[in-house]
């Protein structure tokens, strides 16, 4: 077996937070990411889905090396990701790029578009100025930007075009992996599909892998080869998107899927309304973190944390009841 492009092994990130004013309050531990493992082969897409605050974005930052893991490690092409800022990190980061949620915020409004796309090449000292310019122009063409956008400023362009700039800035280094953190949620619905199609096309042409983070299950299904559902810092279910969406095994996944709005009024399905808000991540419930909101919870769920187990169809689920409570169709 070849080494996968990206491997996360028991990735954990805790933050200590203080409640109350110094020196009174007490420090507590916030488990933003708690033992997340996955592998992502080259040219494939892993979708990470979950509510806000579930640890998706922290996972992205860990993968990029922007925050150091408390435990566990990220391996890129078999090599452990070195701490941010080191020369080796910088070199490895050439092959991992990022696309942001808010393209206007991610762009410097005082720098022309072309210069921003060229900047990664300057930072990584690649090529002569003329070569850099050619490369930037070619990349702009690849993402569907016109040459006359080169000297324009970000605020002069539309939302979809700005996200293409951000994408071009990521692509210009010819990365093997792009981490997309909610890349389309700030865009108009009509633009979303265009950008998603562009991402899929680029993958087909260039063989890029995506770590695609979103709270939108339908969008995840369109782009992903595999989906991981996160809840409070852990992966609760992971598998191939069609079967996962059709027959969710974890009660939390079931609830997420039932929340997808449908246009049809005929197929009115039993919508699962989750009780209450997600628990305070500083003060996680014992056992299965979801048991406070789970309709099927039994005594065991309160005491014992379920491990991620492989099911018969190859899917992985972290639920004590996954065998008995057979996946129910959500039609």
């Amino acid at each position: 077996m070849t080494t996968p492009l990206l491997q996360a092994a028991e990735l954990t990130r805790h933050y200590s937070v203080r409640s109350g004013a110094w020196p009174f309050g007490r420090t507590a531990t916030l488990r933003a990411v708690d033992g997340v493992s996955f592998t992502l082969p080259a040219g494939r897409t892993l979708g990470l889905v979950g509510e806000s605050g579930c640890g998706k974005s922290t996972t992205a930052k860990l993968v990029l090396g922007l925050v150091p893991p408390t435990r566990g490690e990220v391996r890129v092409m078999g090599e452990t990701l070195p701490p941010a800022g080191t020369a080796r990190w910088r070199a490895l980061r050439r092959s991992i790029q990022m696309v942001f949620q808010d393209p206007l915020g991610a762009l410097d409004r005082r720098v022309p578009v072309g210069d921003q796309i060229t900047e990664p090449l300057i930072i990584h000292r690649i090529g002569t100025p003329a070569q850099r310019r050619d490369k930037a122009v070619a990349t702009m063409a690849a993402v569907g930007l016109k040459l006359d956008h080169f000297d324009r400023y970000p605020h002069e362009l539309s939302g979809g075009q700005r996200q293409r700039i951000v994408l071009a800035r990521a692509l210009v280094l010819e990365p093997k992996l792009i981490v997309c953190d909610e890349p389309i949620s700030a865009l108009d619905v009509s633009i979303q599909a265009q950008v998603v199609n562009l991402l899929v096309d680029l993958q087909a042409q260039l063989g890029i892998a995506y770590l695609f983070i979103s709270h939108d299950l339908r969008m995840i299904r369109q782009v992903s080869h595999e989906v991981a559902v996160m809840y409070l810092g852990r992966i609760v279910e992971q598998g191939e998107p069609d079967s996962l969406l059709a027959q969710p095994a974890h009660p939390y996944t079931q609830a997420l899927i039932s929340a997808i709005p449908t246009a049809s009024t005929r197929t009115r399905r039993g919508r699962i309304i989750l009780k209450g808000d997600p628990p305070n991540p500083i003060d996680l419930p014992s056992g299965c973190a979801f048991h406070t909101r789970c309709a099927f919870a039994v005594a065991r769920c309160r005491t014992e944390t379920p491990a991620l187990r492989v099911m018969a169809d190859g899917r992985r689920v972290a639920c004590h009841l996954a065998d008995t409570n057979s996946p129910r169709a959500v039609a």
Partner: protein, 293 residues
């Protein structure tokens, strides 16, 4: 044709009105005054009719032209027969130079400290914030006077002292804007590309906050002129034989009854210059930096 003529007229009017909206007459006058002062400072040696220390003992305390004097000394002379106009021109150069370098030192120092505080956070930031509070809570005139008492006076020390006048404002602005840039947006986007901190602060953050900093300069520049002239007036700033605007007013105070022209000319220059810079500053703030409004 007739309709074209009718529709043309209002268009021309609005263009006119638009010009004066963008360039109010008061602002134009203020800019002209500042330009005149800068030109005077640059060409002081050429413009001054006499050497500023030259004595003309035959024409001591000669009045200015407007007060019945002769054109030989249009602004009159002082107790030693020195030409007030020449001294005024040299004083303008000295005061503007001190205010310019003082403002520059404050801007560079403050901005750097602001970047340092925003970059390192934690202890470094706490220390910087404490210094900012300290500086903001003590009247700077008192601090300046103590430093002059303790360390003596020299022109270079005096200029550096003026540079310490308003650093905390630049530091506060830079720190605040840099922290917000670092936490989200373009700075973190460039940082995650692998850019060095120097590149991020110099090429991305600084250009983005430059307009706010420039507007602050128009606020601190007149304050520095006032501080310099106040200290020089008290005899604790620029020392003779050098001369500055405040120095001239201080000297003219002694001859208030006999030769008021000695202090009137430099006083008018101080007031008009600070007023002009304030007017231009307000105008710049409206144009450049909507966040400060």
């Amino acid at each position: 044709m007739a309709t074209a003529a009718v529709s043309l007229a209002p268009v021309q009017k609005t263009a006119h009105a638009r010009f004066f909206e963008a360039w109010p007459p008061l602002t134009i006058a203020a800019l002209a005054w500042i330009a005149g002062m800068v030109a005077t400072a640059l060409a002081a040696d050429v413009l001054a009719p006499y050497p500023f220390t030259a004595l003309d003992l035959k024409a001591r305390l000669a009045p200015a032209v407007l007060l019945g004097g002769s054109w030989a000394h249009p602004f009159g002379t002082d107790e030693l027969g020195r030409d007030v106009l020449s001294r005024l021109i040299m004083s303008i150069r000295m005061s503007l130079l001190i205010a310019f370098f003082g403002t520059m030192i404050a801007a560079v120092l403050g901005t750097t400290i602001g970047f340092v505080a925003a970059h390192f956070r934690r202890v470094v930031e706490a220390v910087v914030l404490m210094l900012i509070d300290f500086q903001a809570s003590m009247p700077f005139l008192i601090i300046a006077l103590s430093v002059l008492a303790f360390m003596g006076n020299s022109l270079s020390l005096f200029v550096v002292l003026m540079g310490f006048h308003s650093w905390e404002r630049y530091a506060r602005i830079t720190r605040g804007l840099t922290i917000s840039a670092n936490e989200q947006g373009y700075a973190s986007a460039v940082r995650q590309l692998g850019a060095s901190s120097l590149r991020i602060y110099g090429l991305h953050v600084l250009p983005n906050i430059a307009s706010t900093l420039i507007v602050s300069m128009t606020l601190t520049f007149p304050e520095t002129i006032l501080l310099e002239s106040g200290l020089s007036f008290l005899g604790l700033g620029v020392q003779p034989p050098l001369t500055s605007l405040g120095n001239m007013v201080g000297y003219g105070r002694e001859y208030l009854t006999r030769a008021p022209w000695i202090m009137l000319a430099p006083s008018a220059v101080i007031v008009l210059t600070t007023l002009s810079i304030s007017i231009v500053g307000d105008w710049l703030r409206d144009r450049l930096d909507p966040t400060l409004r």
